[in-house]
């Protein structure tokens, strides 16, 4: 048992303590309180927890791996994603907050379905949307738990299975107990730790190489294209690569666990300020890991595992107690995403059940079911992590783009374009689910480039064909 084990163990206890605290103190007699914390969360917790909830295993594993293998070419993704996030906070967040309160919607799928509740289209949107969210969310949670397995295996020498079970059980317990309140406040703790890790890791890594100048010299000596935003490409190859990054980044339009923050914020007037906080934090966490990856390439050579570079640095460059704090930050980025996803998937499944069951079902039953669903999603995520069907990058790309197309695009259209019809929303959700899944097998490297235009064409075409000027069309 080292200082690293002790510090990390303390972090897990803090998370479980937050879950237990909200279990005992929150008046969660209604599902809305459990899922959306009574729509009374302030600006800072919303902004920090939103970033932490999307930071995921992506930040310190997949994105570090991209920096390690392709260098700063990934900065185009960072820029595109920041612009998409700004669009979401400006043009989707405020109207979504107001409409969500008016409809009393709990999740994005619930909102889409309730908007068209007077017709059969609304019920169909709920069914197809819930299937899509559950498929993508379980994939996403599975990718997070693979990252937990990697992280704890490298840093604490835990066997992969034990590491996945430890992470999966910890996040399942505190989320099941505390619901959305626990998710937000553990995300805030985790967000601060992510920030510390994002600042200290590159500083220590570049210092250990010999400083900024030596770092750039050595990186250029290994491969000059590592430091170029073009990745050494030109012409058609560069255009295709940029399109691939752009269409991948567009997934940020529809991450239900991030969109839920808009529903839970105290007032739509706070969203503009939250945007500034979130954008600063996002700019940092989308840029720094690429430099960490390049530093990893310099320190460990091309033979090291790209997605584990940050973990190797953690063990090599820091005293055990500080490594424990940074490990908590890295695991925090992963768990904060997992807990938010479990809440969303559980909320959609539970709401589907409640709408089907009608008035016969009590709030207490629904709440217990919600907790059970959180545990169920966690168990399926653990199963996927043990199966391990792809790299963290591959699985996250699949889920991220899939959620953007099936959930984010219809919601953004609903908020920004009054001609959006229920039939168009249903068609987009369906085409997004099928198109993302099919293209993953047909065009694994470039599937986002083809899924987005298809979904846009379906949304716009169907809306124009089915729109009737007298009110919101089914």
């Amino acid at each position: 048992m080292t200082g690293l084990h002790l510090t990390f163990g303390l972090f897990l206890l803090v998370l479980l303590g937050i879950g237990a605290y909200f279990y005992r103190t929150t008046d969660a007699r209604r599902l809305a309180d459990y899922m959306l914390a009574g729509r009374d969360v302030g600006t800072w917790p919303i902004a920090i927890s939103e970033v932490a909830s999307v930071a995921s295993g992506w930040t310190f594993f997949a994105w570090v791996g991209v920096g390690f293998t392709t260098g700063l070419h990934g900065l185009w993704f960072s820029l595109a994603m920041l612009l998409v996030i700004l669009f979401m906070y400006r043009y989707v967040g405020p109207p979504f907050r107001r409409a969500s309160q008016a409809l009393n919607s709990q999740t994005v799928v619930d909102h889409l379905a309730l908007t068209f509740r007077s017709t059969a289209t609304g019920a169909a949107i709920r069914w197809v949307g819930t299937v899509a969210v559950v498929v993508f969310m379980i994939s996403y949670v599975g990718a997070q738990l693979i990252a937990v397995g990697e992280a704890l295996g490298t840093a604490l020498d835990l066997p992969y299975v034990a590491a996945v079970l430890t992470g999966g059980m910890a996040v399942a317990v505190y989320t099941t107990l505390g619901g959305f309140s626990a998710s937000v406040w553990t995300d805030v703790v985790q967000g601060v730790l992510v920030l510390i890790a994002a600042l200290l890791l590159p500083i220590a890594a570049i210092a250990s190489v010999g400083g900024w100048g030596v770092f750039l010299d050595e990186a250029a000596a290994i491969d000059p294209t590592l430091l170029s935003s073009t990745g050494g490409m030109g012409g058609g190859a560069l255009v295709v690569a940029l399109l691939a990054w752009l269409t991948f980044a567009m997934g940020a339009i529809g991450q239900p666990h991030a969109l839920m923050r808009f529903q839970a914020i105290r007032s739509d007037t706070l969203i503009s300020k939250a945007a500034v906080i979130a954008l600063c934090f996002q700019a940092l966490r989308l840029t720094v890991p690429l430099f960490i990856g390049i530093a990893g390439r310099v320190l460990y050579g091309a033979g090291a595992a790209p997605e584990s570079a940050a973990m190797l640095m953690l063990a090599d460059l820091f005293p055990p107690w500080l490594a424990g704090v940074l490990l908590a930050g890295i695991i925090g980025a992963i768990l904060s995403t997992s807990d938010s996803m479990m809440i969303v998937a559980s909320a959609d499944l539970t709401t589907l059940y409640r709408r089907q069951a009608g008035t016969q079902v009590t709030e207490g039953t629904v709440l217990r079911l919600g907790r059970l669903m959180v545990a169920g999603v966690a168990a399926l995520g653990v199963g996927l992590a043990l199966w391990r069907p792809g790299t963290i990058f591959d699985i996250i790309e699949f889920a991220f783009v899939g959620l953007g197309v099936t959930v984010g695009l219809p919601l953004a259209a609903l908020m920004c374009w009054t001609r959006t019809t229920g039939t168009a929303v249903l068609a987009t959700v369906g085409v997004g689910l099928v198109g993302t899944t099919a293209n993953l097998y047909l065009l694994p490297d470039l599937f986002p480039i083809f899924v987005w235009p298809l979904a846009f064409a379906v949304l716009i075409g169907t809306s124009l064909m089915t729109y009737e000027p007298t009110g919101r069309s089914a």
Binding site: L75, L83, S228, V276, L279, L286
Partner: protein
Amino acid sequence: MNGLPPDTWLVLLGILMVPLLGYGLYRLEVARRSPPDDAAPDT
């Protein structure tokens, strides 16, 4: 010593500009929401 290439600096500058743009839009929204100082109360 090698530096970062100009194309990389341009993308990094773009990344820096997005939060600044967000801040500018936030200040504009605050200014639009609050009444001007010399507006007399309508009593």
